[in-house]
């Protein structure tokens, strides 16, 4: 197999390089090194830092319980600012530092840029939040896994919900011009057109961080849409729902799991009432999910942020895979991930061969009395 031959060469090269460059690296061989990458500063920090917290909490627990197969886990936390250039530099740094598996890549874009470097070094990468379908479906990145559903699966679910269940005929699709939001919106538009029972009356992007969204809300009103399908994250979503209510626009609001976040309800408050968002199934009744949130409150004194549970699940899944495989060899880890089921806050999951999680059931939630209530 050319694959294994390649890896041998790489391993030999890496070994040689390590021998030359980092003669002390051998000392720390009895710990497992987990990289945690994502934006920890800059405008997207609020999506990256919760994963760091998840990793810190779990690693502390695992280490206190004796580690994995007797080995302690060491965290290598690196800031990528969601920038492709920094992400590739970070990837080479982690490879040099001897990371054996990596939690992260928060943004799809920078993750895509860094994955080939990890792949070359045979490092497993699991993202809590990179939802671009190409990451798994293209087959270019066999070392990539994720604990979140790809954009297209969610868009399909939301479109089915809006058209078949709610019977909406006119849908306004709005996105935040970002990688994630626009990807979701484009899939949503495609599925609506395919379905044929409803039409897209408006397809537009809003500028994230803008001080006022009343113009776009007026435009939605003008288009006569019965519902707004939004692709993006909760800060923009809460601004839009707030403005919709303030401008007395009666359309409903359907969104993705970037919005199915407790911060959305906190920020938008009463204006969030009645909004729909898709997200992983039965998280609130899942005891593991409760425990995860409790642990965060205890450790950091606040509610966890975006993708915290996905990150928590990813660490659990990787830790389990390392335990089962007994090594950090990529092939062994992949096999373990694909065969072993793990109980996590997002459900009991394993992974398909492309790297998407199986068992992360998705359903649509509605905000009722200040909490997300799952709609059966």
């Amino acid at each position: 197999m050319s694959m294994s031959l390649n890896r041998k060469i790489v391993a030999a090269a890496a070994g040689l390089m390590l021998a030359i460059a980092v003669p002390v690296a051998g000392v720390a061989a009895d710990t497992l090194k987990m990289g945690v990458v994502g934006p920890h500063s800059g405008d997207l920090a609020s999506y990256g830092l919760p994963s760091v917290n998840a990793a810190k909490i779990l690693v502390e627990q695992i280490n206190a319980a004796g580690g994995i197969n007797g080995k302690q886990i060491e965290l290598l936390i690196e800031d990528t600012v969601c920038d492709a250039k920094t992400a590739t530099d970070v990837a080479t740094k982690l490879v040099s530092d001897g990371a054996q598996f990596v939690l992260g890549g928060i943004c799809s874009g920078s993750t895509k840029a860094a994955l080939p470097i990890y792949l070359d070094a045979g490092i497993l990468v699991m993202s809590p939040s990179a939802t671009n379908p190409g990451l798994t479906q293209s087959g270019d990145y066999p070392n990539f896994f994720r604990t979140i559903a790809p954009d297209d699966a969610q868009a399909q679910l939301d479109v089915d919900f809006a058209i078949d269940k709610m019977g909406y005929k006119k849908i306004a699709v709005v996105h935040d011009k970002g990688d994630y939001g626009k990807g979701f919106a484009e899939f949503a538009k495609m599925f609506i057109e395919k379905n044929g029972n409803a039409e897209v009356v408006l397809f537009e992007g809003v500028t994230p961080g803008a001080v006022d969204y009343s113009a776009i809300v007026q435009k939605i009103k003008q288009s006569g849409a019965e519902t707004v399908m939004f692709g993006g994250y909760h800060p923009e979503a809460s601004k839009i729902v707030t403005m919709m209510k303030k401008k007395r626009l009666d359309a409903s609001f359907i969104s993705d799991d970037g919005v199915k976040d407790i911060t959305f309800i906190k920020v938008a408050g009463e204006f969030a009432e009645g909004a729909y968002a898709s997200g992983p199934m039965d998280t609130s009744s899942n005891p593991l999910s409760k425990a995860a949130v409790e642990a965060h409150k205890k450790e950091f004194g606040s509610d966890p942020g975006a993708f915290y549970e996905n990150a928590y699940s990813a660490v659990l899944a990787m830790a389990n895979a390392v335990k089962v495989a007994g090594s950090t060899d990529l092939e062994a880890l992949k096999k373990a991930l694909q065969t072993e089921k793990v109980d996590t806050p997002v459900g009991t999951i394993s992974f398909d061969e492309r790297g998407d999680a199986i068992g992360v059931g998705f359903s649509v939630y509605q905000v009722q009395n200040g909490t997300f209530v799952e709609l059966k």
């Binding site: 800059g42 920090a45 992007g205 001080v211 006022d212 009343s214 007026q218 009103k221 707030t242 606040s302």
Partner: protein, 300 residues
């Protein structure tokens, strides 16, 4: 027609929001010729201070009006202090430095303040309480212009008038104008230039604080990064109107707000910023010092 009026008011609201921040930019620029990139961060700190104070007061059970006044006051006091301190640390030592050095210092200060709030507070978005409750008399037109929008529009107008009076008719305003025209000459006629510059920073920062509180209550959320985007737009507005000119900053902001609103309404919000910046380029080509800026003739 209804749609047009709706968009008109959206644009006016947005314009007034920009104006509250743009005024500070334009004042500082007028006096020391510095693009104060940290101004957006002052605005953000004002919003955070207002948020913290308002939350504490509401826990203590203060009435709504008292909360608005006290939170606003705290925001103004602290933002002004930050503005004053930043000027002393990052810009004053650079008075005689090459032209671009204070600019870089300002960029560094902006990064520092962002990360300072990120670390000391949180990276998350925080729900900003709705300080201004809906007025009953506004209900019939609420779908066009909300109560907060109204407050913002009125505040901006009042602030602009007060500032114009301050600069035109008071002694300190006179000193400000003198300093901005010729700093050396102002010093020679006995104006304490350093003090005037400090006062300018204090006034500009106070305006940013009021803006921060109102805007945060309008959009309902704050985060350490809100200052940056709003700051760039407000600065664009200030230049559009003619930087250094108080009415210019307001006019530029309104023009920018209306452009964005109508671009969203009649074309596409995908390209609202492209329209905004294209307008800027167009206006500056035909009026190189902005709409109300003085054409500076060069004498040899």
């Amino acid at each position: 027609m209804d749609y047009f009026i709706e968009l008109l008011f959206s644009g006016l609201t947005r314009g007034s929001i920009y104006a509250l921040i743009a005024l500070g930019y334009t004042m500082v620029y007028g006096i020391i010729g510095l693009i104060n990139f940290a101004h957006g961060e002052i605005y953000m700190i004002g919003a955070f201070t207002a948020f913290i104070v308002a939350t504490i007061l509401s826990i203590l059970g203060f009435p709504a009006l008292a909360i608005i006044v006290l939170a606003g006051l705290a925001a103004v006091v602290w933002s002004a202090s930050y503005g004053y301190t930043i000027e002393k640390i990052a810009y004053k030592p650079l008075r005689h430095a090459p032209r671009l050095s204070p600019l870089i210092s300002a960029i560094g200060m902006s990064m520092f303040l962002q990360n300072y709030v990120l670390l000391a507070q949180t990276s998350d978005f925080l729900p900003f309480p709705q300080l201004i409750s809906d007025f009953n008399f506004m209900e019939p037109v609420a779908h066009i212009v909300g109560s907060t929008d109204l407050v913002i529009l009125v505040t901006t107008t009042v602030v602009m008038i007060c500032l114009t009076i301050l600069i035109k008719y008071t002694k300190i305003g006179k000193a400000m104008r003198a300093t901005s025209q010729d700093r050396m000459m102002a010093m020679l006629v006995g104006i304490n230039v350093n003090r005037i510059i400090s006062v300018t920073f204090i006034i500009g920062s106070s305006l940013a604080a009021i803006g921060g509180m109102l805007i945060a209550s309008h959009i309902g959320q704050i985060n350490f990064y809100i200052g940056f985007i709003a700051g760039i737009k407000a600065f664009t507005a200030a230049v559009l109107g003619g930087i250094g000119s108080i009415p210019g900053a307001v006019l530029g902001s309104v023009v920018l707000g209306l452009t964005e609103s109508f671009a969203t309404g009649y074309v596409s919000s995908d390209y609202e910023d492209v329209f905004a910046f294209s307008l800027l380029v167009l206006i500056l080509i035909f009026k190189p010092s902005g709409i109300l800026g003085k054409a500076d003739t060069q004498k040899v």
